[in-house]
């Protein structure tokens, strides 16, 4: 079996870390400033400001899962382990943001509607999405053999992505929104809320990017520190 692993740490990783870190710091500062001075919602009051955290978490989670599926497909196509490292990072960071979205959502819902949870279509699909990528991470832990783990995880990551568009368009497809409005349209936010929302979304994506680069760097270091374990292929020893 050819060794398709890249065991050296790419020099571009540290540069990418510095660049993504700097962009994230700048974006976070601007986002915090805009959120602080954003107007209060007339009905919901200050709790509505959780919108600027909640929605960016979902954009970052979707992007993380899309990254996992795309890199999974590239791994299956090119059989290059570097794609698998990015797929791991995308899933882990995606699950982190998905969890944050699942925490911030109920806090907002309890403060506004008086309920932590309602089984509206988007919430149900969201929960399924979270379970899918948690199962993805478990699959990686429990599969033996580096190439087999990567292959199975890639397939599962691609299959799981089907839940992302289903989640985003859940209201339109299934109807009956209990807690979520229709997807945002132009000028559907109140005056002065557009910029903090947009910069929040950008900050969420930059946070995803920075954490993914950090996680890929960690994986590169792990492989570089223990190349013999990386080269081991459990498939023959099954």
């Amino acid at each position: 079996m050819p060794d398709h692993r890249q065991t050296s740490i790419p020099a571009t990783t540290s540069r990418a870390l510095r660049a993504s870190g700097a962009a994230l710091a700048a974006s976070t500062a601007l986002w915090a400033y805009l959120v602080y001075f954003a107007p209060l919602d007339r009905i919901q009051g200050v709790i509505q400001k959780i919108l600027y955290v909640h929605v960016p978490c979902w954009f970052a989670a979707y992007a993380g899962f899309a990254l996992t599926a795309a890199c999974g497909a590239l791994y299956l196509w090119k059989n290059d382990e570097r794609f698998d490292r990015v797929a791991i990072a995308g899933a882990e960071v995606g699950v982190l943001f998905c969890t944050l979205g699942l925490v911030t959502g109920p806090i907002w819902a309890k403060g506004t509607w008086g309920h932590w949870w309602a089984w509206d279509p988007r919430l149900t699909v969201t929960l399924v999405l979270w379970f899918i990528y948690l199962a993805y991470l478990l699959l990686r832990s429990f599969t033996e053999g580096s190439t087999r783990t990567a292959r199975f995880a890639s397939v599962y990551g691609i299959a799981g992505l089907a839940a992302v568009p289903l989640n985003y368009f859940a209201i339109e497809i299934f109807g009956g929104a209990a807690m979520h409005p229709d997807n945002l349209e132009r000028e559907s936010l109140g005056a002065g809320m557009g910029w903090p929302f947009a910069i929040g979304a950008l900050t969420g994506l930059l946070a995803l990017l920075h954490l993914v680069v950090l996680r890929v760097d960690l994986e590169n270091r792990r492989v570089a520190a223990n190349p013999s374990a990386a080269e081991w292929d459990g498939e023959t020893g099954f």
């Binding site: 299956l76 149900t124 399924v128 379970f131 899918i132 948690l134 199962a135 478990l138 699959l139 429990f142 599969t143 033996e144 053999g145 087999r148 292959r151 199975f152 890639s154 397939v155 599962y156 691609i158 299959a159 799981g160 839940a163 498939e235 099954f238």
Partner: protein, 221 residues
């Protein structure tokens, strides 16, 4: 296509000789009916009939998971799974053959479980038996297509019995939502709208096509 028939025949013949899976699945679903009876307020009677569709599908899902887990575990003996993977045929047909074999075995278990349910919940299912069989067949095809695909993955993991439900259950959600809605409509009104049936057909077709196309990546030596 010949590979599909060969695998289907092999699996059904193995099962007809050993009865391993069917008996275990029947025992589990029977035990679940008993547990449901004790867990419902006032027991399983006409008064608690509203819970019947959901509980029926819960019993079906867990029975299916038990059988699906075994469908590839038996192939580990004497490395038969390697033979399956190395056979000079399209692996998609092998997976499809296994899916249909699982579907047939599950259908047998489901028919008996439905009779037990009808007895325990004091329900007369004979007027809707045909429609119910159709809904159950469509729902089970979805369960078996996804379940067989992930059983091929789970069997190669360290905790295969744990992994199969974790991998398959999230993907069962759309099937279960449509199937329980259709079953509920059947029990309540005696007829079912086309929407959940349409949803089941689309879901089944998507799962079957996806598992066929991705079979090369999960069935390996």
């Amino acid at each position: 296509m010949n590979a599909l028939l060969a695998v289907l025949w092999k699996d059904l013949l193995t099962e007809s000789r050993s009865h391993d899976r069917a008996i275990a699945m029947l025992l589990l679903s029977g035990l679940m009916v008993v547990v449901f009876h004790f867990s419902l307020p006032g027991g399983a009677t006409t008064a608690t009939r509203a819970y019947a569709p959901g509980l029926l599908w819960v019993a079906y899902v867990f029975a299916a998971l038990l059988g699906l887990g075994r469908s590839f575990a038996i192939e580990l003996e004497n490395d038969a799974i390697e033979g399956l993977a190395r056979a000079p045929v399209d692996r998609g047909w092998v997976l499809l053959g296994k899916t249909i074999a699982n579907w047939v075995i599950l259908a047998f278990v489901q028919a008996i479980t439905a009779c037990a349910f009808a007895l325990v919940f004091e329900m007369d299912l004979t007027p809707v038996a045909l429609e119910l069989a159709g809904v159950v067949a469509l729902g089970s095809l979805g369960l078996c297509s996804v379940g067989t695909f992930f059983a091929a993955v789970a069997v190669r993991t360290r905790l295969r019995e744990v992994m199969l439900p974790l991998l398959a259950l999230p993907f069962y959600t759309p099937v279960l939502i449509a199937a329980t809605r259709a079953t509920n409509a059947l029990f309540e009104t005696g007829s079912v709208a086309f929407e959940p049936i349409q949803f089941l057909i689309v879901t089944d077709a998507s799962f079957l096509i996806a598992s066929f196309l991705l079979s090369d990546f999960v069935l390996d030596e």
